[in-house]
């Protein structure tokens, strides 16, 4: 019997698994989920939104730095990338983290075109991750509203 809750739960499970398989998320995200309990029920949401804010700010800094054509401060860009890498690895944003590694290399070798390309990719990536996680949270809310329990997904 497929109640709404069960359907939603299945949808949730499949979506989550797909996110992992597509490489958007990794084990660290699972760890984050473990930390969510009665004391801090919105832990994951808070961390994730903080991460996206951070992304926006850092990407803005880097775009500004790279805009100074002819006088680009690669060390500034490099330190922003470092921060972004740290944040993304803490949150489990696997793709973003991977892009950051490439980005760091471009910074270290002062490759302007490479940096610009990487920046664009990071921008795209984090925005898509944000959209997907938004969908996931929406699903969670729907389940809760429908009276169900959010299922534990084991990858």
């Amino acid at each position: 019997m497929d109640t709404l809750v069960a359907q939603l739960q299945r949808q949730f499970r499949d979506y989550t698994i797909s996110l992992y398989h597509q490489g958007f998320l990794d084990d660290q995200f699972t760890e984050l989920k473990k930390l969510q309990d009665e004391c801090s029920p919105d832990f994951v949401a808070e961390v994730v939104s903080l991460f996206f804010e951070d992304c926006e700010k850092l990407i803005g800094n880097m775009a500004r730095a790279l805009d100074q054509t002819g006088n680009v401060d690669f060390s500034l860009v490099g330190s922003s990338v470092h921060q972004l890498k740290g944040s993304s690895s803490s949150v489990g944003a696997k793709r973003v983290k991977g892009l950051c590694v490439t980005f760091k290399e471009c910074c270290d070798s002062q490759n302007f075109e490479g940096c610009v390309r990487c920046l664009q990719q990071v921008d795209i990536e984090y925005k898509s991750l944000k959209a997907k996680l938004q969908d996931l949270f929406n699903l969670e809310q729907q389940i809760v509203q429908a009276g169900g329990r959010i299922p534990q997904v084991d990858i």
């Binding site: 930390l35 309990d37 803490s90």
Partner: protein, 736 residues
């Protein structure tokens, strides 16, 4: 009346002839007396200097009056009137007066005049002396000029040949010499060879023995010595009889070596070699050697010596420099060759590592499978041989690879917890079959205080023990083999440096393997641990093996901070192999690999534990805080080093610091925190969160006094384990 004649009768009779002569003489006297003052006046007027003019006037007056007297006398020869007599008298009186005055005057004047004469003589002498001295000074100055010029010429070049040639040329020119020659000592030092001459273009190879008396005389003094033109050193040209040979002078020229320039005994030129310079004045010229010329020659000789020594030094240093450059080039080539060799070897290893192992494994695997099938006895024998050979080959490859990696330093131990007792038993089980065939009983003695569960590299330790025991079995024909394992205190054989902060949870395992077999010559013992060296004679070398076993074992033992050595009393008396290794004591009473899972996963020991988290990155800070809060800790977060120092207090049991951001200031914080809390009993524990946990990072953390290193991102289980380890053992260095 009679005329009274006022005439005066002359006194003398009028003798005609005598009177005539008197008359003439008086006349001439008068003339002379009148002309003398005239002459005086004339000459004095001519001369510029005459101090006694008024004396002259006086004298003139005197003379004139005398003249007048004599003139008037002319009239008195005949009868003369009274007037004449009167005039005569007056004149005579005046003359008398003036003469007396003059006489008195002269008493004063004549000494003066005489002294003028003396002074004149004195001044003449002085002038002559000064002239002489002037002459001397001029000659000296000339000489000096010559010397300076000569020196300049000589010293303007650093080429030996030019120096000597220039010397001769300049000397010849300055002193207008006929011939100038330089005799240099030969290599043997027993003869002087004519090396350079001034006039002769191609000097003949002409030598004289060095022990001639004239030469000794010259060498014995630093002055220029006049020698006979007939001495061997001066006879440079064929003498053609009639010449009166010019004077010859010879002087020594010290040849200084580098070793003579010891600062302490500069004036003490002891073992000296001299060259001889011979200078000849032109023949038939009657010229003689003057003192200043000799001095010139001596000075020049000294200058030449100095110039030659400079040239020698220069030659020496040029030679040394050329040598160094050659060596540099050779070293460079050698280094490049070495690098090429290393690269080639690395490439070879890389190839060997993969390409060769794969087929090897295939062979071994398939041969073993083949063994399981139905085979005829011959086939079985063949398959067994194939299997044995390929196993041997695989072992050999592994050994070689291991050794290279060990030498590179790129091998790292894989630490884990394992059962030591079981390990020994396993080794024995592996060896027992061979030992039984060779009828060698093996006994195992484990000390009662030997820990059961230890931390170390199980695989490599087994390799070491297996190798040692295997050797014992291989090289014994009879007797028994005993394996003893015990705990030993670290004696002076163990290296003193520790990687982990010592906490007493380590011990040294000593394993002794004693056999009564072939034994080893004590002289061969050092060679045992060198690669590929075989000490057994061919007859006993039936076991095969590459000789690498002991070398590899030694390196593994060293990696485990231990020592390995072999004692033997001699050939045929058996030998004992002993090694110590450092192992950690594990307090796991269960089998290795299963982590602790506390009954209450959330609040084990951590309730209310005050923790400080320092991380510049907001997101990771939040995550770490979430982790710790989930485990029940009371977490304070800070985002900078300064804030951390401000906020940290003795209440915080643990401080987690992010050290990812480049820069060493992160580590400095650890030191500052230590400084802050040195007086506390319960030290705050410091752990670093970092992106990589390789050896240098760990060492750096340790050097700054951190108690542990964690790899970000930390999982919940990890954090739990870390916290409990830190609190219990006060140490944590994982190999994550």
């Amino acid at each position: 009346m009679m005329e009274v004649c006022n005439c005066i009768e002359p006194q003398w009779p009028a003798d005609e002839l005598l009177m005539k002569y008197q008359y003439i003489s008086d006349f001439f006297i008068a003339v002379a007396y009148f002309s003398i003052p005239l002459e005086l006046i004339y000459f004095v007027k001519k001369s510029a200097v005459f101090p006694y003019r008024w004396v002259l006037v006086q004298f003139g007056a005197f003379i004139v009056l005398c003249g007048a007297t004599h003139l008037i006398n002319l009239w008195t020869f005949t009868t003369h009137s009274r007037t004449v007599a009167l005039v005569m008298t007056t004149a005579k009186v005046l003359t008398a007066v003036v003469s007396c005055a003059t006489a008195l005057m002269l008493v004063h004047i004549i000494p003066d005049l005489l002294s003028v004469k003396t002074r004149e003589l004195f001044l003449k002498n002085k002038a002559a002396e000064l002239d002489r001295e002037m002459g001397l000074i001029r000659t000296q100055e000339e000489t000096g000029r010559h010397v300076r010029m000569l020196t300049h010429e000589i010293r303007s070049t650093l080429d030996r040949h030019t120096i000597l040639k220039t010397t001769l040329v300049e000397l010849g020119r300055t002193l207008a010499l006929e011939e100038c020659a330089l005799w240099m000592p030969t290599r043997t030092g027993l003869e002087l060879q004519l090396s350079y001459t001034l006039r002769q273009q191609h000097p003949v190879e002409y030598t004289v023995p060095i022990q001639l008396p004239v030469i000794n005389q010259v060498f014995g003094t630093s002055r220029a010595v006049k020698i006979s033109p007939n001495s061997p050193v001066a006879r440079l040209r064929p003498v053609s009889g009639k010449y009166l040979l010019g004077e010859v002078v010879a002087v020594r020229v010290p040849l200084l070596h580098l070793s003579n320039f010891q600062i302490n005994d500069w004036p003490e030129l002891s073992t000296k070699r001299y060259a001889l310079m011979v200078l000849m004045l032109p023949s038939d010229s009657a010229r003689q050697w003057h003192v200043h010329e000799l001095e010139l020659v001596e000075v020049v000789a000294d200058q030449v010596a100095v110039a030659l020594s400079h040239a020698a030094i220069l030659e020496e240093s040029m030679r040394a420099r050329d040598l160094l450059m050659e060596q540099n080039v050779a070293l460079d080539i050698a280094r490049r060759e070495a690098e090429t060799a290393i690269r080639a070897r690395n490439d070879f290893l890389a190839v060997m590592n993969h390409e060769m192992r794969t087929p090897m494994h295939a062979i071994i695997a398939l041969s073993s499978l083949l063994q399981e099938t139905e085979l005829t006895p011959e086939q079985r024998l063949m398959v067994e041989t194939v299997l044995k050979s390929s196993s041997l080959l695989a072992t050999l490859m592994n050994d070689v690879l291991d050794l290279s990696r060990l030498e590179d330093g790129s091998l790292q131990l894989e630490l884990g917890t394992f059962n030591l007792h079981t390990l020994f038993r396993e080794v024995l089980n592996l060896i027992k079959p061979i030992a039984v065939i060779k009828k060698l009983p093996i006994t195992l003695n484990l000390a009662p205080d030997l820990p059961e569960f230890v931390v170390g590299d199980e695989k490599r330790l087994m390799q070491i023990i297996l190798n040692i025991v295997g050797n014992a079995v291989k090289f014994s024909k009879q007797g028994s083999i005993s394996v003893t394992a015990l705990v030993t205190k670290s004696d002076n054989r163990a290296p003193p440096d520790f990687f982990v902060v010592p906490t007493g949870s380590h011990f040294y395992l000593r394993v002794k393997v004693k056999d009564l077999g072939a034994g080893i010559n004590p002289q061969d013992i050092p060679k045992l641990f060198t690669k590929f060296a075989q000490t057994q004679s061919l007859a006993t070398r039936s076991s095969g093996g590459s000789g690498l076993g002991l070398a590899i074992s030694k390196r593994f033992v060293n990696l485990m901070e231990g020592n390995i050595w072999i004692e033997s009393e001699g050939v045929g008396k058996g030998c004992t192999a002993i090694f110590d290794v450092k192992l950690g004591i594990s307090n796991e009473s269960k089998q290795s690999g299963i982590p602790k899972v506390p009954a209450n996963p959330q609040h084990v020991n951590f309730a209310g534990l005050k923790v400080l988290v320092m991380d510049e990155n907001g997101v990771s800070r939040m995550v770490t805080k979430g982790l710790l809060v989930h485990l029940g800790c009371e977490v304070t977060t800070v985002s900078s080093n300064e804030e951390c120092l401000r906020v940290v207090s003795h209440e915080h049991r643990v401080v987690f610091m992010d050290v990812c951001t480049p820069g060493a200031e992160n580590y400095q914080i650890a030191l500052r925190i230590h400084e802050k809390f040195t007086k506390r009993h319960q030290m705050t524990l410091l752990a670093a969160l970092t992106g990589n946990t390789d050896k240098p990072t760990k060492e750096k953390c340790m050097s700054f006094g951190l108690d542990g290193v964690l790899l970000k991102p930390v999982s919940l289980d990890n954090m739990r384990n870390v916290l409990s380890d830190l609190l219990e053992h006060r140490v944590l260095y994982e190999a994550m």
